[in-house]
Symmetry: C2
Subunit: 486 residues, 2 copies
Amino acid sequence: MVFAQTPDRAAIQAQVAKRHDTAVKALQDWIALPSIAAEDRNAAQGAEYMAKLAREAGFQKVEIVDTGGKPGVFATLDAGAPTTVGVYYMYDVKQFDPAEWSSPPLEARLVDRPGLGKVIMGRGATNQKGPEMAFLTALHAIRDAKQKMPVNLVLVAEGEEEIGSPNIEKLVLRPDVQAALKKSIGVFMPMGLQDPDGAVTVNLGAKGVVELELVADGKAWGRGPSKDVHSSLKAMVDSPAWRLVKALDTLVSEDGNTIAVDGFPKPAPLTAEQRAQIARSVAARDEATARKSLGVPHWIDDLSWEQANERLVSQPTMNIQGLVGGYTGPGGKTILPHRAVAKIDMRLVPPMTRDGAVQALKAHLKQRGYGDIAVNVSGGYDPTATDANAKLIQAQIAVLQRNGIEPLLWPRLAGSYPGFVFTQPPLSLPAGHFGLGHGGGAHAPDEFFLIESTHPKVQGFDGAVMSYVDYLYELGGSGGGSTAAK
Amino acid sequence: MVFAQTPDRAAIQAQVAKRHDTAVKALQDWIALPSIAAEDRNAAQGAEYMAKLAREAGFQKVEIVDTGGKPGVFATLDAGAPTTVGVYYMYDVKQFDPAEWSSPPLEARLVDRPGLGKVIMGRGATNQKGPEMAFLTALHAIRDAKQKMPVNLVLVAEGEEEIGSPNIEKLVLRPDVQAALKKSIGVFMPMGLQDPDGAVTVNLGAKGVVELELVADGKAWGRGPSKDVHSSLKAMVDSPAWRLVKALDTLVSEDGNTIAVDGFPKPAPLTAEQRAQIARSVAARDEATARKSLGVPHWIDDLSWEQANERLVSQPTMNIQGLVGGYTGPGGKTILPHRAVAKIDMRLVPPMTRDGAVQALKAHLKQRGYGDIAVNVSGGYDPTATDANAKLIQAQIAVLQRNGIEPLLWPRLAGSYPGFVFTQPPLSLPAGHFGLGHGGGAHAPDEFFLIESTHPKVQGFDGAVMSYVDYLYELGGSGGGSTAAK
């Protein structure tokens, strides 16, 4: 592997190796404390722990920020450097059901994963504590090697990413936080970007998202029952559950794939450059592997792999996450439920906005006679986009290329993260993700992050740490040369 | 209160009073053993207990019958009488959630209920163990008073009533059971028929029912995912949850109230006599009380009280009991579920049949392009009807009138019970419900059955027992006189 301008890189790498066990143990301890906003679990403890990790890694000022929701963390590391870099963290994780896991999700055991090596398995391992711990370990290692930090850092960490970041603006746009970030060249989030074959995709943005519940309720409707009644009464009593079905039916096309909400904002078409990026990426990725891993025999409309990916990048979505109404246990129960709920997420692409999408949905329901159906938005945000020419992105490409990786550019993640708060006014900064290493199972059982790789092109934990070391020096202006070290 | 021809009625009544505490304790013990078919709970124990209760009450032959599902019980009491009467029991009860109860549902505590008196509160108290225990107590009391049983009895008890009696024919139509029942003048089920004001309705039939799940599943569909995947993939992956919504949408009218299944069997219109029965009953019942107790501000289509009741009696229904798909916990979870389920019940009126309704539903789904959606029928049966002139019914009317109650006749219960197995060929017997006494909360929390009544027109447990004593003597041919005893 080829590295360039990081000064005394070998000394830092030695500190990373020396710190390996300590860092893995720290990651295990962190996974053992799951903060889950959706379940109101461990928010205060999670923020305290996040603050402690930041202090220990060298941030001189660390503050827990009241957001009205789960607390955030704001921290600065002043290295007296000319360049300042923003870092976005989440300390919360997704819900989990231990019964579905092959290894206890809070024990973060090291287990062998064939073809990859030794992984740490636990909730949050890759989304996002593993990569985040690797980045903090980079700061420790630079200090332990008695090197000067090449950039100043501004860290913002939230505890509500997994519920759609409902209060991210209260954290990021607080005047002093905003002022600190405004000095930065952009904001990045640590992430293990390597595919199982070592390839890396650099994302230039992400879709926006809105999470919401549609609730049909007898009381709000003024028809049907205000409590569950015997199902035989259906002959004389209206049904909120049927009302929900009828309202849902109006939201999408017959095949369920196109949003049919009246006046819903329209997406901008892909540019030629975006199409070219997709074509290049798709050529490098195996369709059969993707279909098999998802258990999907056909894409929507039997689209080709490239067409399906163009749709993935370019189209907004209206998805049912869950349906909950009435009796949900085993077998049946003869009730007419008074209430039924659809859990929905919408994904948005520029120039659509969260508020525009929600307003259109509400107006549509009202116009179609379903004004009584509650639209309870629990979180969400606008899409985000960053220019490929930004230094934040160009530094990623440079570090990857010096690692022997020719990154693929990807126009827009289909998943979402609240990058909008950085890329939109008032901050208007570049934003992205970075990091070597590999993980899987985000939002699913057996989530993992690779610790010791058996694949020569895929970095384990220490390699991920070094990717952050190199990135920081690159961002600080020390990179770009050609002095190579294997 | 006026009673007639029951010989030595006072002696029997004395035995009922003497047995009161024993009988109530026996009911409490029975409630403490809930058999719940939907949860696969206590079927074998429930059948054993049912058999024990029958033996103790004087049935000479008692047999547990393998039905392929939960076991049934077949018992005969040969009194050497010219008349034989069939009795239908269920020993299973509905599911319950103790958190929703004001008194532990298996403890069957005696609690005061204002306006009614002392009630026994527990799962199964009124549906159906309370009335069933009262009937068994009548048999004990006749024996304890050294009286001759006026009729022979044939008892069939099932453990799957609450899941739609999927194996009732395997019990009732087994050749020897069928032969025993064939000798009877009809079959009745013990039931506390009194309203809180003492009024009694004699039902001449019941709707049929089908309970089923409609399941949309990626694997069966051959589209969408075969496991839950990240919701961002909605842009390129079909959604079984949306497919379920679209299929459901085709099943009912826009208001959710009329079945729109192509070729669905049609109900027979009400006869003039049935309309008259409804009009008489409706005049005697208070609409405001009914609407308040159900929490229903308007009936379907703003129908009048009488029109709503005509609809209740005459119209088939398609009801959503529950919707379950994907993530059903608190908040949201960004998944695209691979599977979604609607729990449905359909209620049927003559001449519709269970098989006809299921076939039409399946054909409709196939015709509309939803042939992949599974129709998993878990139970159900045809509607049932009995002629008002049958001795089984006329004896009820006679006993009620001698109790000072002018019963209202009701064409058809909107709820369901598997009377079809008795009223249709090969048995073609009258079937119905009978019993004084009062209960409430069937299928709901705080289910109860009245034990000690404070209302002069409503019978407590001992009065319910005596109503069965009188009914048996009436059926045996001893009734009908006018010798009155207060």
